[in-house]
């Protein structure tokens, strides 16, 4: 357990990542405090997804380390990182298309309850009433109750994302990583998702969020880091970042404008 008074849960410590000669990430330092929503923004190709992949253990950093709650994540397998309490929503939904929505949400619940590996043949899934109730409650939360017996593969893209969010939420992760959670959603769905994420925030879950949509970022973030060219060029409270000249430049260079997307 970290004992600092700010209570930093996630510490990205001097991380660099090179692909061949390309410096995707250079000397990234990031501290995420417990219960906060930390947004990482930046133009396309700034290295946001690479950073997320390093945190979740999908990519090994070339140097530096990621520490979560006093545990070094670097070098651990994805399932070990998840078992420490880190869950992730992907940019393109990673779900179980052949299973029903209810089953999709129940599977992660088993990982939370039974651990990384357990041969449980004696019980029936149908007999797991407590898990089922919990899954149904969370499906209700994300607004998919009427689709809970549909095959997940038949859902719309927006519904798939919300289901994936439910799959993460049922694990009550201590840290939730969201990779553009509203990409491809209608304005209405985006607002529903923002409300949903605000609700989770009230529960005190720590979140790291990558997002293009500034409306989403400024609705949710407690703190914002701006990534450009693999470096953090600015960091601070949402209002500070909004006025930062360097950030404007980075976005203009990347053909995005804060005003336009706001």
């Amino acid at each position: 357990m970290t004992t600092s008074e700010r209570n930093v849960v996630l510490h990205v410590d001097d991380v660099s990542k090179n692909f061949g000669g390309l410096h995707a990430l250079s000397d990234i330092d990031l501290e995420v405090e417990e219960g906060q929503t930390h947004a990482i923004i930046g133009p396309n190709g700034a290295g946001k997804s690479t950073l997320l992949n390093v945190i979740i253990g999908r990519l090994a950093p070339s140097s530096g380390a990621v520490v979560f709650d006093g545990q070094v994540l670097t070098g651990r397998k994805p399932h070990q990182i998840n078992q420490l309490g880190v869950a992730r929503v992907f940019q393109t939904p990673e779900i179980f298309p052949e299973l029903t929505v209810l089953q999709n949400v129940m599977v992660p619940a088993f990982a939370k309850r039974d651990g990384a590996f357990r041969v449980n043949i004696l019980r029936n899934v149908a007999g797991e009433a407590a898990l089922r109730d919990e899954a149904e409650a969370i499906i209700e939360d994300v607004g998919l109750s009427d689709r809970r017996l549909s095959h997940a593969g038949s859902l719309s893209r927006g519904d798939k994302r919300r289901m994936e969010l439910a799959m993460c939420l049922i694990q009550h992760p201590r840290l939730l990583l969201l990779d553009e959670p509203t990409a491809g959603m209608s304005r209405h769905d985006t607002n529903t998702t923002i409300d949903l994420l605000k609700k989770i925030k009230a529960r005190g879950m720590t979140k790291v969020i990558i997002e293009h949509d500034m409306h989403v970022v400024f609705s949710l973030a407690d703190k914002i880091s701006v990534l450009s060219g693999g470096r953090i060029i600015a960091e601070g409270l949402p209002d500070d970042v909004r006025g930062n000249i360097k950030v404007q430049e980075a976005y203009l260079g990347g053909a995005h404008r804060l005003e336009a997307t706001h």
């Binding site: 994805p78 399932h79 869950a87 089953q103 599977v107 357990r118 449980n120």
Partner: protein, 381 residues
Amino acid sequence: MALFQLSRRDALILAIFALVVITMPVWTAPFGANYPGLMQKFAIYAIFAIGFNILFGLTGYLSFGHAAFLGVGSYTAVWSFKLLTMDALPALLFAVLISGLFALAIGFLSLRRSGIYFSILTRAFAQMSYNLAYSVLTPITNGETSLQLTLQDPRLIDLALAPRGAGLPTASLFGMSLSGLSGFYFCAVVLLIAFFFAQKVFASPFGMMLRGIKSNQMRMSYTGFNTRPYALTAFVISGMYAGLAGALLAVTDPLAGAERMQWTASGEVVLMTILGGVGTLIGPVIGAWLIKYFENIFSSFNEGILGRFFDFVPAPLHDTVVAIASKFVGEGWQLTLGLLFVLVVVFLPGGIMEGVRRIGALFRRRGSPPKAGAMRVQPAE
């Protein structure tokens, strides 16, 4: 007790299945398939296919070398007969154990890779087993002549209880001989137990995790599951099923040859599973029965029978039709099998169970016109 609990639906299916299996000598009579040798095969290959389906159907790993475990099961059972006793239970027990260990070793290595690489690895291991069984392992397998009972077998337990009789003994269960119909009923009971266990796997959280691995292995990892031991467990279970089937083959006919490990045998169980319906409980059983039935019937056909069968064809064409048809039966049975393989994969990738479901859906739609919006909702199970 949780161990014996089944959902009401599964219990009903088991009851019906038990009825079907136990009454097999009755309902196979009209097809001319009611003799014990064939019905034993029905039961044994159903076990093989059910087990294979736990790996391929639930977990999504296509093994092309499962016949190796069948062979190991047969060899183990025959050795149990030769060294200890003709009683079937120790033979089954040892066969399941040894084939399980064998599957553990092969699975541990093969599961380091997925997709086609996994298929090739299992194929390579099976081919190695087959080649070795024919060559350097001859002291254990008796090579080309097959492992058989002899009059000099030690049979330590049997001979401690009773003096050696004249002639070769047959397998038994607590002193009851397991030949003919009693042999079939023994296999049938083992099949029912195997089926019940598969039902438990399908309905259990473990089974759901296996489905998750088949559906999206990466998501499973990021959801906190260590997927490899899950897949390995499925591999070992299916290897044990194969070993069990191999042991039963030895119980009904105490003989074990390397040809049981050949690629054709591995391919056959794949076909049984996809013909019946991959990932369904009943499908592999139906697939196994159909293939063993047709193999038996078709391979016993000859031109004489065909000539009578095609009597309705006018004379000028008659001989041609018979000549062509004869290529598909008897020795040519494999040709029919190959064609069936292609047709099923092309037109009915979900197998017979998929066909049944489609027909069922057709009738349901006719019964009540579909409501708007109801199209997209599919039942949970």
